[in-house]
Symmetry: C2
Subunit: 256 residues, 2 copies
């Protein structure tokens, strides 16, 4: 009986081609250190990425802007500060997604900024060894973001690109923060600690968050205990990048 | 039609409870640094682990011996040097498995040892940024292994346990080496580079490999581009362990 059911499952998957995002799982393509080193070639289409989650952050082929995924919809914040709906055939060189479900709601007061809300989440979710997806929806007194301009070969390292990054200062804006708190041991693979992007409620502004101050917001977190990493198997640049190097300082420089 | 098929898939999975190991995927439970720190409480049953692969290595609840999985069968090499068939309800605190399929066969000469065969595989499989499962089947002129004795609370760190590890010297023995070459960026999560276990053909001897010399063997490798990590969500010891610490030196000490 079990075998028959397994066979049916297999056949159904083959026929339908549908992928169900795994519960409580962070899905990631490629590694942050490969991106830091300048591996900007996309390796997974946006269409395929969305099969693994309805919530997340990343970037696009040849580093063409910041990616944010919210409620299953993907947005591209380009270096001109505008928000685009990317073609689903565009590939991403680095992205992190999950199927967001709210495990906890953390009460948030006005005046909290990046550091103080990070501390608040750390107190509420003290297990630093798991992954957390973070969604903060509300009104922000200030929101400072950046984006990155698309690059051409030969690709410069990410810290050179972000040294001249366009930054955007928004005031009294409503929207949603989307991101992750990753455990320290993902160093070299993803960003240890917090990595957050923003999209405005009217979906016209956003980017990689540099700083913010909350007016009124709801902070939801999803505890994630599984981590799925898929690597670019056919990308020469990925294969040839020295990923044994400690790039913590470079990461710190680009996250500013 | 697609939705109906997805529904059938979901129902089948629910009813049958069967897990199909993902192709080209390394499946791992917990992290090496948690093990180094003394988190020896099992978090996944051997039965569940085998659903994710037919090939792999690991250890058992309260560090009771070395685990080796070959052709879907699991063996436990205890500190007495004997091989046991573990009860499937026993849990593992750390294990790495995959569904082994041979991608390449590397010609192997007599006289090769741990270092020279590692160099040979590195030349044949130069992409250091992917995972490789390694299976070497044959005759060995010498095979030196170790095992670890089961521990009691309060658990000492792994380097203290392995400081007094029982070692086993086998001569002219046939059997199989089972293990992985992991990319450098898994530092803190798994063992960067080579991590190999051994089981004799008659399934009476084995352990964590310290050194060996080949008489005649076949070396097969499976290239793995996906990595799935599951974390102990309810283990207090895992939650409370400082996994931001660099434990490279401890790892080097225990791998000897």
């Amino acid at each position: 009986m079990k075998r028959v059911l397994c066979l049916i499952v297999g056949l159904c998957i083959l026929i339908s081609g549908c992928v169900t995002p795994a519960k409580d799982t962070v899905f990631q393509t490629s590694t942050i250190d490969a991106l830091l080193a300048g591996v900007y070639e996309g390796n997974m289409s946006c269409r395929d990425l969305l099969k693994h989650g309805d919530f997340g952050i990343g970037t696009f082929d040849h580093l063409d802007g910041e990616m944010i995924i919210l409620n299953g919809k993907m947005y591209q914040i380009k270096a001109d500060g505008k928000v685009y709906k990317p073609d689903m055939s565009i590939k991403t060189p680095f992205a992190t997604v999950c199927q967001f479900t709210t495990d906890r709601v953390i009460p948030v007061k006005a005046g909290l900024d990046y550091e103080t809300i990070s501390n608040l989440i750390n107190e509420d979710a003290p297990n630093q060894n798991l992954f957390y997806a973070i969604k903060i929806t509300g009104q922000f007194k200030s929101m400072k973001t950046r984006s990155v301009p698309g690059q051409q070969k030969p690709y410069p390292p990410l810290k050179e690109v972000t040294a001249n990054q366009p930054e955007f200062n928004m005031k009294n804006i409503s929207g949603t923060i989307v991101g992750f708190r990753c455990p320290p041991y993902v160093k070299g693979i993803n960003v240890p600690g917090y990595h957050l992007h923003f999209i405005s409620s009217d979906r016209t502004q956003g980017g990689h968050i540099l700083s913010f101050e909350i007016t009124k917001a709801k902070c939801e977190i999803d505890v994630l205990s599984q981590y799925f990493l898929t690597l670019p198997i056919d990308t020469k640049e990925f294969a040839e990048t020295d990923l044994s190097k400690d790039r913590s300082k470079e990461l710190k420089a680009v996250e500013k």
